[in-house]
């Protein structure tokens, strides 16, 4: 068990190093001089040179890389070009908002997806199954940057039930969470169906039915529980999609999270901030996947021995 844990954690190290390297290279992909691009054409050569120095861009590439990695390891991602505040501080301030939105979206997704997937699997091959899966496919196809404004027109403007944008009350959370969670619900519903269908074909479910266990109990108590294991991985993997989706949802609903900070920073060519946001989101994603793998090892002992 411990060997599996250690191996899996060690495997994540080169990936994280690769992620950091790619994020480091971003600023060097800016066409021309990044400092000039940040300050604009009207800036004086002295100001540009000063910014270049403060960003460390005047150093040899290898030195820059070492400094970036060393600082990032200590949690120092430099200073925001726009505000002068430490990037890490600004990001940390916005983590609760993004986390709140992501968790709410995932809860909504599961509340829709699991019943839908179970219904589709139980009534496999019927019109019910077909309708549920068509609904799911439609959910994946509707872009959240279109759904968001539409929901806002209906529920905030026309009906006046919910606030249009911003963060504060539970009411503020509803529309962003639905618009972010729907696509996820669609994917999860398909996965729930597939995963449950696998389990329903297993002998233990038939054995339970033969012993007189009701169909509801056979699905709910036996098959569904086992189908939750692969579903857990899918949910964790989709966490990345939620984080990316949050970038758009936060922009639409003026939700003060990391996604909105990222898009605002892109607009201001605040490259240290952009690098910081991208690095944080990627590291979070890798960590969530790692934790899922470790949990998977606990839930399903067969994984450890492979």
């Amino acid at each position: 068990m411990l060997r599996y844990f250690v191996r899996r954690v060690l495997l994540a190290v080169p990936v994280l190093l690769g992620v950091a390297t790619l994020v480091f290279s971003l600023i060097h992909l800016v066409p021309g001089d990044p400092a000039q691009a940040m300050m604009g054409d009207g800036a004086s050569p002295q100001d540009v040179a000063e910014l270049r120095k403060s960003l460390g861009l005047d150093q040899p590439l290898l030195t820059q890389y070492r400094t970036f990695l060393g600082n990032a390891f200590k949690g120092d991602l430099g200073k925001s070009f726009r505000t002068g505040q430490p990037v890490t501080t600004m990001i940390v301030e916005r983590i609760p908002a993004t986390a709140e939105l992501a968790v709410a979206a995932m809860i909504i997704a599961m509340l829709i997806a699991i019943p839908l997937g179970v219904i589709a699997a139980v009534w496999r091959g019927t019109a019910v199954d077909y309708s549920a899966m068509t609904f799911a496919l439609a959910g994946v196809s509707i872009p959240n940057f279109w759904l968001g404004p539409l929901l806002a027109i209906i529920f905030a403007v026309e009906l006046g039930w919910l606030p249009v944008s911003g963060r504060g009350t539970l009411g503020h959370l509803v529309l962003p969470a639905i618009s972010l969670g729907l696509a996820l619900a669609a994917i999860l519903a398909r996965m729930t169906r597939a995963s449950l269908l696998d389990e329903l074909g297993e002998l233990y479910v038939r054995a339970a039915r033969a012993r007189g266990v009701s169909a509801t109990a056979a699905v709910g108590r036996h098959a569904l529980r086992n189908s939750m294991v692969p579903l857990l991985t899918i949910i964790a993997l989709q966490f990345g999609a939620v984080l990316t989706g949050a970038v758009i949802t936060e922009t639409i609903f003026a939700w003060p999270g990391i996604g909105r900070l990222l898009i605002q920073s892109i607009g201001f060519r605040d490259y240290p901030m952009v690098q910081g946001c991208i690095l944080l989101i990627a590291v979070t994603y890798v960590s969530v996947n790692l934790i899922t793998d470790l949990m998977y090892g606990v839930l399903d002992p067969r994984i450890r021995y492979e």
């Binding site: 971003l26 279109w146 990345g240 892109i266």
Partner: protein
């Protein structure tokens, strides 16, 4: 169910065919030029003359939606084309040769997969600058990995087939074996992934354009149009509704088609 599913695939095919023909024939079908402005009637809702209404500059929204379809389809085709060819070559080499090459490619893929979905595309376009070319480049950079993983897996399986051993025994060179015998086995799943990939690329382009990182005005893109319509959500919601509706329908079309193809090409799913 299978007839229902094939009906779904057919619906997908009809949608895709309809949109492709509408995009190609748009200039012949419409009396309105997408750039012509009718400022006195700006933001006018749908009428018999202008089915989808007019935008903030008095331009015909239907004409712009159809021109936007050209942009979307073009991005989809180029992104899927480049990603699948690159993915096939890299995945094929990685799976067939194995060893050190496979390990290096594997690590690169691990790093690219460590970035959630479109985040890396957003980052790349943010530094390269917003433009259609950079959108295609960014989407191809994240796109090839999926194809490469798929092809690598198929190649690892196909490498062990007897007819491959036979070809080797007959003296066929590595390139010939790879191109003529091994890679073709990966084509059916690749076709499915490419169809679903069209949906993904179109959606991603629209998302990037919505964020102001993609196609720049005045070129019409569905994402840019939806973003532009947000300002007029209260007084002229048709600015947002029609481009979004088209986008959702096209993406659904490709998803239906991809799903249908998967069922048709994978005997286990029947």
């Amino acid at each position: 169910m299978s007839s229902l599913k094939s009906g779904q695939a057919l619906t997908g095919l009809v949608i895709v065919a309809f949109v492709v023909s509408a995009a190609v024939l748009a200039p012949l079908l419409l009396p309105w030029d997408p750039a012509t402005q009718d400022l006195p009637n700006r933001l006018e809702g749908p009428t018999w003359q202008h089915w989808f209404g007019l935008d903030e500059l008095g331009r015909d929204i239907l004409a712009r939606v159809l021109l936007g379809a050209r942009v979307s389809l073009l991005v989809g085709i180029v992104v899927v084309g480049v990603s699948s060819v690159a993915g096939m070559a890299i995945g094929g080499v990685s799976g067939y040769y194995g060893g050190r090459i496979d390990q290096v490619i594997g690590r690169v893929m691990d790093v690219l997969m460590a970035f959630p979905g479109m985040l890396l595309a957003i980052a790349l376009v943010a530094v390269l600058g917003p433009s259609l070319v950079n959108v295609v480049l960014a989407l191809a950079v994240i796109g090839w990995v999926g194809y490469a993983r798929l092809v690598r897996g198929q190649v690892l399986r196909a490498r062990e087939f007897e007819y491959v051993t036979a070809a080797k025994a007959l003296g066929a060179g590595t390139n010939r074996i790879l191109v003529r015998h091994v890679l073709p086995t990966a084509l059916p799943p690749l076709l499915v992934q490419a169809t679903l990939g069209m949906a993904g690329a179109i959606l991603s382009e629209a998302a990037l354009s919505f964020l102001g990182l993609g196609v720049q005005p005045p070129t019409p893109s569905w994402g840019t149009m939806i973003n532009g319509g947000r300002v007029h959500l209260l007084d002229a919601p048709h600015l947002t509704i029609f481009p979004g509706l088209f986008l959702a329908i096209v993406v659904l079309g490709f998803n239906f088609l991809g799903d249908g193809l998967r069922d048709a090409l994978d005997p286990k799913r029947k």
